[in-house]
């Protein structure tokens, strides 16, 4: 059973990438339905299986680490896999209607989409440092391809910027991997962690860790390395923006977090932890502030991503040499933040796409009057905003709550202020959109009405992110499952 599930999980996206390359856009979409169904089913079954039996290592080619590549299939990984399935399916469904099927380049959307999915799965499961690098590149290149697909000057510039940043980030990471391999003689994350525990404070390992974290921070668009993100996320078609913001960013962060949890305790330091937290805090403030200044709707959402990603980096100070319970809280908070931000941001981008489609303008100020016309999309936008603002009962709130608890518990109260201020600032930009759309002064009345399905998808995602807080307990319970060390 498990063999089938794993095979299906790894095989489906890649196989669908191949198949849909053979088909046109419309056929690819029909194909995608099946693929998404299969992938969704597999993800759910795997999730249930893990919930039932606990995690395990899956040795590819039957070669166990450190010789071969192992996949680490634990609660956290399958949760993210399920998250990916959810968000990607939503974006795929949205894209199928949203994108213009008559443009010749759109046929390449589906292969890139599936490759992206495959790359994400590879990263969630990866436990081999080099394999993670390849997974990251798979993601980066397909994401760049998606942004550039059929694009004109601006889109190309954005995607070039994105590509360069992603590659530099990957190379930094790879250099770190090289140093790690030189230091520990193995690429398996578990093996490295084991060795690091026995040999604390290795200077070289510390530098390697710094290189890897910095590279990943660039890929995650941590302030001040976020310059590439807003153009790329703002200019891509909405379903692509949704994918990028919701999932792609999280992949590099996920690796960084795993590295930190494995090596940070022994090779990191208080200063590094605080620096990461400080940059995260700066990202929260700066991103939100910039979001308040953006004239374009999707840029607002993109900068909101910069801000939200900042929260994630609070994980670093909150897990460094604190009690297990606090570390646990911080990790849980981080996980919930990843999930809820993924759902909410996808919903937000998709809803923003609908609004843009409807008004025919990407400017915030042109939203005037749309509140009367497109209340449903606006409502989805708002619900997603609730999660970003970390208001209850959203997942964002649950995350913030756990982070707050960890903050207070570890005595680092200054992060609490950031958490609070960030929530308020995000309210500022969300309500800026609302304010614009409630404006009645505008004379514009010609709105294009998007199909119902386009409106339903962001709503579903937004509701999910909102409901996540209510279901936080079971989700966290699976993530916290004891890991079965059999690999």
């Amino acid at each position: 059973m498990m063999a089938w599930l794993m095979a299906g999980l790894l095989f489906t996206p890649l196989a669908w990438a191949v198949m849909s390359l053979m088909a046109g856009f419309r056929a690819g979409w029909r194909l995608a339905w099946l693929g998404m169904a299969v992938q969704g089913l597999v993800s759910v079954l795997l999730w249930l299986a893990i919930a039932d039996q606990g995690g395990f290592y899956y040795a590819l080619g039957d070669w166990p680490a450190p010789l071969g590549i192992e996949l680490r299939v634990d609660g956290l990984a399958v949760t993210f896999i399920l998250l990916t399935a959810t968000v990607a399916t939503a974006c795929g469904l949205h894209a199928g209607v949203y994108l213009d099927p008559d443009k010749p380049w759109q046929r390449y959307f589906w292969p890139l989409f599936w490759f992206l999915w495959a790359g994400l799965n590879a990263v969630w499961l990866g436990a081999d440092l080099f394999n993670l690098y390849v997974g990251l590149e798979l993601i980066s290149l397909s994401a760049v391809g998606l942004v550039a697909l059929g694009g004109a000057g601006d889109a190309l510039r954005a995607s070039l910027r994105y590509l360069l940043a992603a590659l530099v980030g990957s190379l930094f990471y790879l250099l770190g991997v090289a140093l790690i391999y030189g230091q520990f003689g193995t690429l398996s994350l578990g093996g490295v962690a084991q060795l690091a525990e026995d040999h604390t404070a290795l200077a070289g390992a510390g530098i390697a860790l710094a290189l890897m974290l910095a590279g990943l921070a660039l890929k995650t668009a941590l302030f001040p390395l976020h310059g590439w993100l807003p153009p790329a996320h703002g200019i891509a078609p909405s379903p692509v923006s949704a994918l990028l913001s919701a999932l792609v960013l999280k992949a590099s962060f996920y690796i960084a977090a795993r590295l930190w949890l494995a090596l940070g305790e022994t090779q990191g330091s208080y200063g590094v932890a605080q620096l990461a937290g400080a940059l995260g805090a700066a990202a929260v403030l700066w991103g939100s502030w910039m979001a308040c200044l953006q004239p374009r709707l999707k840029q607002v959402v993109a900068y909101s991503t910069v801000a939200q990603v900042g929260y994630l980096f609070l994980l670093f100070p909150l897990t460094w040499q604190v009690s297990d319970q606090i570390s646990q809280q911080a990790q849980e908070g981080m996980t919930l933040q990843v999930i809820s931000h993924a759902l909410a941001k996808a919903a937000m981008f998709l809803a923003a796409g609908n609004l843009v489609l409807s008004t025919g303008s990407s400017k915030v100020e042109d939203l005037a009057g749309v509140g009367r016309f497109l209340p449903f999309s606006l409502f989805s936008f708002g619900l997603a905003g609730v999660s970003l603002m970390s208001l209850p009962p959203s997942g964002g709130f649950a995350a913030k709550w756990l982070l707050l608890q960890a903050t207070i518990g570890s005595g680092q109260w200054w992060w609490a202020l950031v958490l609070i201020a960030g929530g308020l600032l995000s309210a500022a930009y969300v309500f800026r959109i609302y304010r614009a759309s409630f404006q009645e002064a505008s004379g514009q009345d010609d709105f294009h009405h998007p199909p119902r399905r386009l409106e339903a998808i962001p709503m579903a995602l937004a509701l999910l992110s909102l409901g996540l807080g209510l279901a936080g307990e079971p989700v966290l319970a699976i993530m916290g499952l004891p890991f079965e060390e059999d690999g």
């Binding site: 690098y133 954005a158 910027r161 590509l163 391999y181 030189g182 807003p230």
Partner: protein, 104 residues
Amino acid sequence: MTPHLLYAFTGLLLFVTGLFGMIALDHLLRKLLALNLMGSGTFLVLVGLAQHRNGVDPVVQALVLTGIVVAIAATALGLVLIRRYYHLSGRSSLEPDTNDEAGP
């Protein structure tokens, strides 16, 4: 100090040189070359350091092979994008672009 280690240090130097190019140069093609320089430097460090430690190491060699393919793919994609960008906008660098991305 084995020759391998020398390779590794050379790689390091190459990497930073590439980084310098990435930052200092404006022309996109040069940036791409600088990127490749960084990649090569990284591969040198990877092989040099590992072989300094293990002697001949097929694992890193294989890794570098994989890395090269990835780098080629990325470079190719970058080239395609740069060509298209140049074709459509007539420009070969990313700067200045304040007016249309960040917005007023």
